[in-house]
């Protein structure tokens, strides 16, 4: 890391403490509700089309079923000691001040109903133990506030008894799906994966055309024919990456980075048009059945293409699902080469290539950036990389430091296992939830303003498709440029020099059009 003198350092201005407790306002976010899924979206996933008759009994029955089959869920509902440690740990509470966004209060929305129907005290003395009937009002509260949780698990890090609100939020959404009250954004998307293979609805013809177009771009820029193969039978590696990597900015620059790394490593690889999605929204709605259906597509694609390895691209919850459930829900993968991790993360692959000295890297090509890294919540708190504890924190940082000179950490309480969610995770990355997305992003954005002030940081790096899209939308709200969000593999792509590379003229290079740091305009915005 190289410390430079910062000319544009902003002094004598105060940045909001990213973790400062908010001014509490009861009911501040009770009007925040995502669109309800259409009947065809629910039915495709095996749920009733719309709110069913007798939904109370059916919801309670489903809750009982989850409590019987998911020990964690029951323990989480039974063991809260109301110590208050979690109350100020949720980014949505910090950003909104709505007390129902305190993790304990969010859990209690479900816990109160669980107590009423499944505990002795709640059945006979409900008022004494805060047990409530499942009424329409309660259901509406569930729909609102369980869609203000990104299932990021930050609260669980601080809970002395280890209660994971994410599990409760997933169960709540599963119960609502079972009575026909699904969320449009998640359910429509899962249906698209079943029909077409990815969240976007990007069909095989369009995928192949887009990848050919990218190959041309890379060759124009470098003079090297780097391939992005689609459905190539017999390739060694199947890359499973979020479909946003085929479509959105800045995601697609990360895809180019993966392609360059594979090219430089000399391995054969392919993407699949059948399993062209890493993201698995089945997790967000707590549906093991739907999560498994999407995992199984990956197994089928791997078999059909005859690959030996599976590598996942940059996607937070995709890696959470892949790391924890791909083998159990999508396996067996006994047909793959057992000498490699199943599955493997692209950063594990790239870091290994860097350690082996297989990549020719020129860090100075990223000197225009002053960078900080946003640990994506699902990678940080629900997975691992490499073979040592904390590998999911170290490997991304190792790669960043191998490809750039100017790297700085955000405040310690906001990184690694204590990282703040981007505000758009867990099925909340939809336009109808923009208000809560902005409020949830504010703690992370204030942490970034802090390193902007202290170190002149002008760009944020992330390894999750949701984080990248969310920040591209949020950064301008907090005084930064829209393109101040980068993928790690975009940095790798900039730094790597391929064999035979001839750089095109600089004046046609977007990398040279980096805006100046936002300066004083960043302060006091969005507070």
């Amino acid at each position: 890391m190289v410390e430079l003198v910062i000319d544009n350092k902003i002094s004598n201005t105060s940045i909001d403490d990213p973790l400062a407790p908010p001014c509490m306002t009861a009911g501040a976010m009770e009007g925040s509700k995502p669109y309800v899924a259409a009947p065809e979206h629910n039915e495709k996933l095996g749920f009733p089309g719309e709110l069913v008759d007798g939904w109370q009994e059916k919801a309670i029955a489903r809750m009982g079923e989850i409590a019987r089959t998911n020990r964690a869920f029951k323990v989480y509902l039974d063991t809260c000691i109301k110590c208050g440690a979690c109350t100020d740990k949720c980014h949505y509470y910090l950003g909104s001040g709505d007390p129902k966004n305190m993790p304990v209060a969010r859990q209690d929305l479900l816990r109160a109903v669980y107590r009423r129907y499944f505990t002795f005290a709640g059945k006979y003395f409900p008022k004494l133990v805060g047990a409530v009937d499942l009424t329409r009002e309660v259901l509406d509260d569930w729909y609102s506030y369980y869609h203000q949780c990104s299932q990021c698990r930050r609260c669980a890090v601080f809970c002395p008894v280890g209660i994971d609100t994410a599990e409760i939020s997933m169960a709540a959404r599963d119960i609502m799906d079972h009575i026909g009250m699904g969320q449009k954004y998640c359910n429509e998307i899962i249906g698209k994966v079943m029909d077409i293979g990815n969240n976007l609805g990007l069909n095989e013809k369009a995928l192949k055309a887009t990848m050919e177009d990218l190959e041309e771009d890379i060759e124009d820029e470098t003079g090297v024919a780097v391939r992005i193969p689609v459905d190539e039978k017999g390739a060694d590696i199947l890359l499973i990456t979020p479909s946003a990597d085929f479509f959105a900015e800045p995601h697609i620059d990360g895809l180019i980075g993966y392609a360059k790394v594979f090219h430089a490593a000399g391995v054969s690889w392919t993407v699949s048009s059948y399993a062209s999605e890493a993201a698995n929204f089945g997790l967000f709605i707590g549906s093991q059945e739907n999560t498994a259906i999407l995992c199984k597509r990956i197994q089928k694609a791997a078999k059909d293409l005859g690959v030996k390895r599976i590598i996942f691209g940059e996607c937070g919850h995709a890696w959470r699902v892949a790391y924890n459930f791909l083998n159990t829900l999508g396996g067996p993968f006994d047909f793959l080469d057992q000498n490699y991790p199943i599955p493997q993360h692209i950063l594990e692959f790239t870091w290994d290539q860097i350690e082996c000295g297989n990549l020719n890297l020129d860090k100075s090509r990223n000197d225009k950036f002053r960078l900080t890294f946003h640990d994506s919540c699902n990678v940080a708190r629900a997975s691992r990389m490499g073979d040592m504890p904390g590998g999911q924190f170290e490997i991304p940082r190792n790669v960043i430091k191998a490809v750039c000179n100017n790297y700085f950490e955000m405040p310690e309480e906001t990184i690694k296992e204590k990282t703040l969610c981007c505000g758009g995770g867990g099925g909340l990355l939809t336009d109808d939830l923009m208000d809560i997305r902005k409020k949830g992003a504010s703690p992370r954005m204030h942490a970034m303003q802090q390193v902007e002030q202290d170190h002149g940081v002008n760009h944020l790096v992330a390894i999750c498709a949701i984080c990248k899209t969310q920040f591209a939308k949020m950064l301008p709200e907090f005084g930064f440029e829209r393109d101040a969000i980068l993928s790690i593999h975009q940095l790798v792509s900039n730094a790597i020099i391929l064999e035979g590379q001839i750089d095109e003229d600089d004046d046609d290079d977007d990398i040279d059009e980096i805006p100046e740091p936002p300066g004083a305009s960043a302060t006091g915005v969005g507070s």
């Binding site: 669109y35 954004y185 969240n199 990007l202 887009t210 479509f247 336009d431 899209t469 829209r482 046609d508």
Partner: protein, 110 residues
């Protein structure tokens, strides 16, 4: 929701994307654009027409990078970038331009 155009009611989803893509015409595009506070000029039309042509071929909107490349080709290097597309369509070229072009909303982590 729905749009009212020349006495006809044109169905749209909650977010204003028309549900029957075949009913699209330029007057409807202008009406949707008005709702989005966009005054359609030649450059807006060029983007909208490109999106429609691409959709006809591929049944999906193009990647933003593909759109940028097309704009670069026709409007020049100064305008062939994401930033300029955002000045044309402040809510984002992918979603807002698709809505005006009468195409489905791009879904997923985008």
């Amino acid at each position: 929701m729905a749009y009212e155009l020349n006495g006809a009611t044109i169905e749209a989803d909650e977010e204003g994307y028309i549900t029957d893509l075949s009913v699209w015409n330029q007057d409807l595009a202008k009406l949707i654009a008005e709702d989005e506070n966009i005054d359609m000029n030649d450059e807006h039309w060029e983007v909208v027409n490109f999106l429609r042509d691409y959709y006809e071929e591929y049944q999906i909107a193009p990647a933003v990078r593909v759109l940028i490349k097309a704009v670069k080709k026709s409007m020049g290097k100064d305008k062939g970038n994401n930033k300029y597309l955002y000045t044309l369509f402040p809510y984002g070229p992918a979603k807002q331009a698709c809505k005006i072009a009468g195409l489905p909303k791009p879904t997923g982590c985008v």
